[in-house]
Symmetry: C2
Subunit: 419 residues, 2 copies
């Protein structure tokens, strides 16, 4: 028996992390299934500073699927291919929803397909900043729907094959720690293209990440159209995907498992540069890094050279923002170096107050400052808008009912973006 | 009999052109012989605006080889490997110098090796601007010495094998028009790595070049150290050299011979971008293009898209300066477009007064201006320091005695740079 009635609204709220790739995904093998031409691997970031929060709700009273993003309804969302792929695929994995208190069946597995969904989602960081907001967003969408419908995977990683149909790299945000996305390519339904955890977030707890949100007036090329152009026009891309990436994947996974920051950092930087090299080899060329991004690259190289070892490793996604991986023991030094050359005076310029205080008080070695100045970088406010300080973190988390973004009575969005 | 005596000073003065590659040379196969890992091809530019002028003189009164560059003596030049390679190799090809009026032998071929050389050279354009000044300089050095010593090649292109030992790309400046530098690699002495004229400067007289000297505070990575790092660290470079360049060489030579600007321009732009992609794939990455360079790239793509055909093609060497190839019929439009987005008010901002007047008066299509503005470029003075307008031109030229830079009595430099 089921207690489901016309007015009941079932809901689940989750938060999901962003992830920043060390071996980059660039190029689709199948546009239909959204599978990549090469394996990739990323660090899942902690959700304290940056995450997507999503409530998925279902009810017999709902007349159609509806989606609110950052408080604003996306009126055509329910017809979009990406959104539909996620919702409809999870319906296929749905099972009975049971009241944990009574053991009663609330919704029978076959009833989900007769329901519509109201979904509300927001990012705790600016969407426009280009910080993998779609990865966090689709991971949260898939995780919230999967929890709501008590989805049961028929093979490990099946949910990640659904998430990648929403946004490729979002599949890596369904797991914590260090996560690989296998390109697959053997199975016709592309079910062998899934994410796999290499090590969880506790394996290398010393890993830290600094994110420099770099100012940029220009509009970015979207990654979907950019990578499509690269596949069509860059002769170097195929060689990268077929010959170079497989070797790098092996090396970087080994480095992560062995806590070998030197190798991890070296490959991370090389692969970021190679990804942007491929963008430049595209017709017409795509420029994601700007002169500010480049100055970060040069300062990081000057820093590592001064240190005589790799203490920081930069990586850039499809935009000018820099992500610097480092180790806890060097994080304050790295932060102080960045603050020295990319100063900012706003109170929330550094995401973390304790870290902000530590880096302001840290005395940089004068030879390091001199070495960094030789890159030609002159400290200037405004080139970086914000610095996030974070670390490796866990998979999507279930949030309590009071974090819900959907009204339990009306089924409408309750979230209002206040910035 | 010879009329040579202790005090006679023999001299020859030549001018030599710069050249701007369409398929780029990047990477040495032999550091000793200065041979490349791939073929390259370039347009030799007219010497009216930009050239190197060099006087090579020899006398029994000289006590050692001496070199003046832009009026300043380079005291250690005579011991430099590059300089010695040029001077000593040409001595091996020397023949009798004969008085054209009397038929008397002035210097017997075996006497050259007992003489020292005083050489003075200057560029008619700023050396620091990064406009292939070393290519013009070494071509002028080799051409002046070869004329002075009446050098006889033992095989066609032998002088270019000497010039490349001074500066790789200078071998292409010994010929006019469209010139390929063959990588060679079969012969142990590298004598099969020489320049070869694909077509002379009269084959495609409509070809024009605009050179935008782009401002840049930063110091460049020298091309010698840059390409050495690329060979050592870029996995993409080998693939480019072995697989991609051979195809492009065939296509671009055919395009040039057939006056096919569409293909010529397309390959030129792709190869420039790929060269800079390789630089970015180098460890540590090398950045030659800056945000101003990139904006030129984007405006040229917007222009060609607006036109529905390729009317302009950019290429960038190891620095931020843009060279735009175009056809005579579009040159004023291209110039006007550049002036619109890279304005300058100095009287010599445009190298050519007639062209300057034409482009100032030209009415750009408003839709073109709108399309170019969509790249995000905002017209700003100072981003470009000077615009040269030039065309394809001939091989080094012999200049008359009054252009000599060496005093006929003292054998000392007479040139004083006045800027």
């Amino acid at each position: 028996m089921t207690t489901d009635n016309m007015n009941t609204i079932y809901m689940e709220t989750v938060s999901a992390p962003t992830n920043i790739a060390c071996i980059k995904y660039w190029g689709k093998a199948s546009k239909e299934y959204n599978t990549p031409i090469n394996d990739s691997v990323s660090v899942t970031l902690d959700q304290a500073d940056m995450c997507a929060v999503t409530t998925a709700s279902a009810s017999r009273q709902f007349k159609q699927d509806r989606l609110w993003l950052n408080g604003v309804e996306e009126v055509d969302a329910h017809t979009s291919k990406r959104f539909r792929a996620c919702v409809d695929s999870i319906k296929h994995l749905a099972s009975d929803r049971i009241d944990p208190a009574t053991g009663d069946i609330l919704v029978k597995k076959e009833e989900w397909k007769n329901m519509y969904f109201h979904i509300s989602s927001y990012n705790t960081f600016p969407t426009a900043a280009g910080l993998a907001s779609s990865a966090a967003g689709y991971a949260a969408l898939v995780a919230s729907l999967a929890r709501l419908m008590c989805a049961k995977e028929t093979f490990p990683g099946e949910l990640t094959t659904i998430a990648r149909q929403g946004s490729g790299s979002s599949c890596r945000s369904l797991m914590g720690g260090f996560v690989a996305w296998k390109m697959g390519g053997e199975k016709e339904d592309c079910s062998d293209s899934f994410a796999e955890q290499i090590a969880d977030e506790n394996h290398w707890p010393e890993i830290r990440a600094l994110i420099l949100v770099v100012s940029d007036q220009k509009k970015d090329t979207s990654s979907t159209s950019g990578m499509s152009n690269s596949v069509a026009t860059s002769e170097l891309l195929r060689y990268r995907a077929e010959v170079i990436v497989p070797k790098r994947m092996q090396m970087i996974e080994k480095a992560w498992l062995e806590h070998d920051f030197e190798t991890f950092g070296k490959i991370t930087m090389m692969d970021s540069n190679q990804f942007h090299a491929i963008c430049l080899d595209t017709v017409p060329p795509i420029f994601y890094m700007n002169d500010i991004s480049k100055s970060v690259v040069q300062i990081v190289h000057a820093y590592n050279e001064w240190a005589g070892e790799i203490r920081a490793a930069y990586t850039f996604d499809a935009g000018p923002n820099a992500v610097l991986y480092t180790l806890q023991k060097y994080a304050v030094e790295v932060g102080a170096l960045m603050l020295r050359f990319y100063p900012g005076h706003l109170s929330d310029y550094i995401s973390n107050d304790i870290f902000a205080k530590e880096i302001k008080e840290f005395q940089l070695d004068e030879r390091l400052v001199q070495a960094a100045m030789k890159t030609g970088r002159i400290a200037k406010e405004g080139d970086v808008k914000k610095i996030y300080y974070t670390k490796s973190g866990p998979a999507p988390q279930t949030l309590s009912a009071e974090r819900s973004l959907i009204d339990t009575v009306t089924g409408l969005n309750t979230y209002n973006r206040d910035y």
